[in-house]
Amino acid sequence: MSAASPLKETCELAVIGAGPAGLAAATLAAELGLATVLFDEQPGPGGQIYRSIAAPPLRERAILGADYWHGASLLAPFRASGADYRPATTVWSVSRGLEIGVSSGGVARLLQAKHVILATGALERPFPIAGWTLPGVMTAGAAQILLKSSGLIAEGKAVLAGTGPLLWLLAAQYLRAGGRIAALLDTTPRANWRDALPHLPGFLASPYFAKGRKLLAEVKRRVPVIRDVTALSAEGDGRLAAVAFRRAGGREERLAAGLLLLHQGVAPNVNLANSIGCAHAWDEAQLCFTPVVDGWGTSSVEGVAIAGDGAGIAGAAAAEHRGRLAALAAAVRLGRIAEVRRAREAAPHQSALKRAERGRAFLDALYRPAKGFRIPQGEVIVCRCEEVTARQISETVALGCSGPNQMKSFLRCGMGPCQGRLCGLTVSELIAEARGLSPADVGYYRLRPPVKPLTLAELAGLPRNPEAVAAVERG
């Protein structure tokens, strides 16, 4: 790391995100001799999947399971690699010229990189149901974070609802930790089995089969699982009191609940990549927008690569291998190694990646969320920040508003602090549905820096040279 001037630090490679992809990328890049900085907004490494892995509060390893503890194997090599680690640092901007804006402890700084690897991972899909903004409704991931980082578990009974492997994993972890679950409301559409069947051979040959079967059995033994749930709502006055639901063709039922944990899959966290101008495409299998990248993670923007779930959902194991491939490509682009050496060193990571991706097509098809839970109606809040409902969005489309960016001007939806992270996919699908188009045609919010809020005071506090000051100040 060197400071070319007091105004801006420089580095060769900036890696953004300290989950499995970012850790693996930064480690290998530093080992190859690249001056590497790893930024992450969390206080400790591991991203979300390996949250708190460096300082886990839980001593009983069986609770979280072996897949979690694997994350610890990434730490020592990273610390030994010589990469510069900047935790509790938010990246709010990456320009096309690879100038990176960061903020730490309320102070903003700029850094100039020659190459950037985005490893910002995934976030949970929005799950817009009536009452989802009530205190007492959280994501399954949030409950997992409380467990991993703080050893906290729901007191009294929790209701889990949705679809996807993470929901079952959380249920199992909760049971192992001594928690109680009132019910797991499974919203997996029955028809998904038919679509998943062609992918079954790959799944049976993957580690997911044995793990998944064991997990499901563990949970079903002790938790009432209610399948074919087609309608769901959270009820309460100021806070959650009950969960109402309906099974396919059934009458409405109600469960008293103080905590509702929702999950229907994960999607890439696209905000930074989108704001840089990286091309994205709609993935119909995973129902989300995904950056367009090649086998090395290279995006459509020169010098910007994307690794891990942020490049497309494939899981933690795949993320590590993609991080290493992106590091090798960075080393070639920065002239550190030749392509011949890259090809040789990449081979084991490419094989490992192929193995890690086996079985995912089956999971994607089986746990594809139902349309009714992706595209809400009526008074269900779509944009949580600006409190915009599905009905308002539909009515605005009827007025002629054709896409999400126009929608911002009409309704402010997508303009709140979350910058579309919790409403973007819903809005794109809602508009597409209303117009009879694919989300690919409708597009997604156009995001601009800063991708995380910062104050004018922080911006004004950026170091300036005398010329810059003289250009603006009078007298």
Partner: protein, 98 residues
């Protein structure tokens, strides 16, 4: 609504929330500390004044906005709870200068 597993390790830290002393563990985020103390709603929305509570705990939902040590609009899930911290729930939008 959340209880601490007996297995969970970590030193105790004490902070104040709206003037009330709250005990947390080292390693908790401020959001986790609030939830552990039974404090669910942490703010009211600028648009309608409706109570909201942390939703994602990973920094993407922006529901857990509180004032920490005099500065508002801080994502409680991204700030590590520390002894002596002064936390205030936030009513509506951030005031300029706070």
């Amino acid at each position: 609504m959340f209880r601490r597993l007996p297995d969970a390790s970590g030193d105790t830290v004490t902070l104040t929330v709206d003037g009330r002393a709250v005990t947390a563990r080292a390693g908790d985020s401020v959001a986790a500390a609030l939830l552990a103390a039974g404090i669910l709603a942490c703010r009211t929305t600028p648009v309608s004044g409706t109570a909201r509570a942390p939703y994602c705990l990973m920094g993407v939902c922006f529901e857990c906005l509180v004032a920490i040590d005099g500065r508002q609009n801080r994502q409680a899930c991204l700030v590590a709870a520390a002894g002596g911290m002064v936390v205030e729930t936030q009513q509506g939008k951030r005031e300029v200068g706070r």
